[in-house]
């Protein structure tokens, strides 16, 4: 215990003496959060095609509402549904608004009308903005009409529900990125960086300085050295989780529906396979540059294939198989389920099992390799 305490205290001193790294660890998630959070929300003037089969005063009022809201730029007019899909297929328009012939009549009769909005899902960021804008503007307009109807005719003449509904359909890519997805997803990627990347570097640094040799000739055990190296990063990672959740809820309004405690506990579980990877890298790399060369190409597929940026369901089968071997894939399901859906531990058993297997495997291999290089 005394040896371990001396080692851990030294790691914290290193961290204190290198405030730039510490600041980066704490600032980076916030920076990424704002970057990704805003990119996805701040889409304006989405080029849209309009197929107005009704062409009544009522339908023109709806289109005016869309125009006024600034989200859509109604650039094209179509005269058939085929025209609409053709314009979206070719990429000229990102969205199509289709108003049925009966729209004005239904409204006047107090029946519920349906407006269809088609959205090009190939760019998830734009599609996401278009999706929420289409729904939001539609509902706002529908509520307006309802108030007018109430004022003019009185409650008795009005059916239950809104006068019309916007039915949205996303083409090509039904799962969309949203800030609800990004905030939880960011927890996974930030933890990946702080654990895998920084752990590998912390150990390789000892090798670069030649201090590793000095440590080996002391009575320190391998596991003590490993534990001491990862402890500060586990703590900092947990601070990062809390930071991301705070900014996510307070600034971006992402509600945390599930248990924060469960989330922290499973974040801890998710750290283990990443620490194993970091340790494993440190047994191969002799310098910090060498470690970076391994880490960067590893991070990229983790980001791309884990479902953080692109939905796994939309990937080719081969890539879907690869995604199953990435711990982040499972953690993203866990964190999104807890934050967005508020599920409990019983739903997440398969993901927890997968992460546990990764943890045992990676830490085991790393510990074996670690001993060998010390010899």
């Amino acid at each position: 215990m005394r040896r371990l305490r001396a080692l851990i205290r030294k790691e914290f001193t290193h961290m204190r003496r290198d405030p730039r790294t510490l600041v980066m660890i704490l600032i980076m998630p916030i920076l990424q959060l704002f970057l990704l959070g805003y990119i996805s929300n701040d889409v304006r003037n989405i080029s849209a095609v309009v197929f107005d089969q009704d062409n009544s005063r009522a339908s023109r009022a709806l289109l005016d509402a869309y125009r006024a809201a600034d989200y859509f730029s109604l650039d094209y007019v179509a005269y058939s549904e085929a025209d609409v899909t053709q314009l979206i297929d070719s990429g000229q328009a990102r969205a199509g608004i289709i108003i049925p012939p009966s729209y004005g009549g239904d409204l006047a009769a107090g029946r519920s009308a349906e407006v269809a909005v088609l959205i090009d899902g190939s760019d998830p960021t734009i599609a996401n903005a278009a999706l929420s804008a289409a729904t939001f503007v539609g509902q706002a307009h529908a509520t307006n009409i309802r108030f007018q109807q109430l004022a003019v005719r009185g409650p008795a003449a009005v059916t239950a529900g809104l006068p019309f509904e916007v039915r949205t359909r996303v083409l090509y890519n039904p799962d969309l990125l949203s800030s609800y997805n990004i905030v939880p997803g960011l927890i996974g990627t930030i933890l990946l960086f702080t654990t895998m990347g920084l752990t590998a570097n912390a150990i390789v640094r000892e090798r670069e300085r030649g201090t590793i040799e000095q440590l080996i000739v002391t009575p320190i055990r391998n596991w003590e050295l490993i534990l001491a190296k990862i402890t500060p990063f586990i703590l900092v990672s947990m601070v990062d989780v809390v930071l991301i959740l705070l900014v996510g809820t307070l600034w971006f309004g992402v509600p945390i529906r599930g248990s924060v405690l469960l989330l922290l506990a499973l974040s801890g579980l998710y750290l283990l396979p990443n620490l194993g990877l970091g340790l494993l890298i440190s047994t191969f790399a002799r310098t910090q540059q060498e470690a970076q060369i391994v880490i960067l190409p590893l991070m990229l597929p983790f980001w791309m294939l884990s479902g953080f940026i692109f939905p796994i369901a939309a990937m080719p089968a081969a890539l879907q198989v690869i995604s199953r071997f990435i711990p982040l894939t499972y953690f993203l399901v866990i964190v999104r389920s807890i934050v967005i859906k508020g599920v409990g531990i019983e739903i997440l058993i398969p993901q927890i099992a997968a992460l546990s297997i990764f943890a045992v495997l990676l830490l085991g291999i790393a510990a074996l390799r670690f001993r060998k290089t010390l010899d």
Binding site: R3, L7, R9, K10, T13, H14, R17, E213, V217, P219
Partner: protein, 243 residues
């Protein structure tokens, strides 16, 4: 307590086809200062690394303080100190923090290491500079701190691997005074060097060449047995033009 501190028998260490240490045998008695002399690449460092359990011997055997270096390295470690060629300092830690860290790593409690660290700082002449970062120290002082790190846990046997390489003559002389002080305190010292003049400071000297231990004896006996003709001690400044 065994009187033989190091017992090496027909030790061989190969790296692939290259034989770094070839059939080396020698004994070191308690309290001796033993020099291990030889050019770079002659197998000095490899020998030390095998004795410390950092490398496994290819053939032969070696015991340190009665423990087998291959099977019982963990039992040797608390009893020996090691100072490597690259001074293993944490540059972002202060002088005191470096010493306290290694003391803790050897399992010393604060009540044990507080007086000891102060004592070591005094011994290596860094009193008043405890709070300086190790990275800010000049070469000679870094060397002394590295020695302090190697002795903070009061080892019975001290391995010094080219401790004086890259430091100026003044610092070298001061460093050897320190080594004598430690030896007088009963520490056995095994030191490698490629400086002839330093070998003369040792009680016994081994000469390594191409992985083989060519001879091991007292400096004066070595002069008689190994050198044909008389040996001259040349003192000149500057040396090369004078020769």
């Amino acid at each position: 307590m065994p009187d033989t501190v190091i017992d090496v028998r027909s030790l061989v260490k190969k790296f692939g086809d290259f034989t770094a240490v070839d059939q080396v045998s020698f004994l070191v008695e308690r309290g001796q200062v033993v020099g291990y002399l030889g050019p770079n690449g002659s197998g000095k460092t490899t020998t030390i690394r095998v004795l410390l359990g950092l490398l496994r011997p290819t053939a032969g055997s070696a015991t340190v303080l009665g423990f087998d270096v291959d099977r019982e390295a963990e039992r040797i470690r608390p009893l020996v100190g090691y100072m490597s060629q690259k001074f293993a300092l944490y540059e972002d830690l202060t002088v005191r923090e470096n010493l306290v860290f290694y003391a803790g790593v050897y399992g010393m409690t604060p009540t044990e290491y507080r007086p000891r660290v102060t004592e070591v700082i005094e011994l290596i002449g860094l009193t008043g500079r405890e709070g300086e970062r190790a990275g800010a120290l000049a070469g000679g002082w870094r060397q002394r701190l590295a020695l302090g790190i190697a002795i903070v846990h009061k080892p019975q046997l001290l391995f010094l691997d080219e401790p004086t390489s890259g430091v100026d003559p003044e610092a070298r002389r001061a460093f050897w005074d320190l080594i004598y002080t430690l030896a007088e305190g009963g520490t056995t010292i095994f030191v490698t060097t490629h400086y002839m003049d330093e070998a003369e400071h040792c009680g016994r000297v081994g000469i390594m060449y191409n992985g083989r231990l060519v001879a091991m004896d007292t400096p004066s006996a070595l002069k008689q047995s190994q050198l044909k003709g008389p040996a001259w001690n040349v003192v000149a400044d500057p040396l090369i033009p004078a020769l």
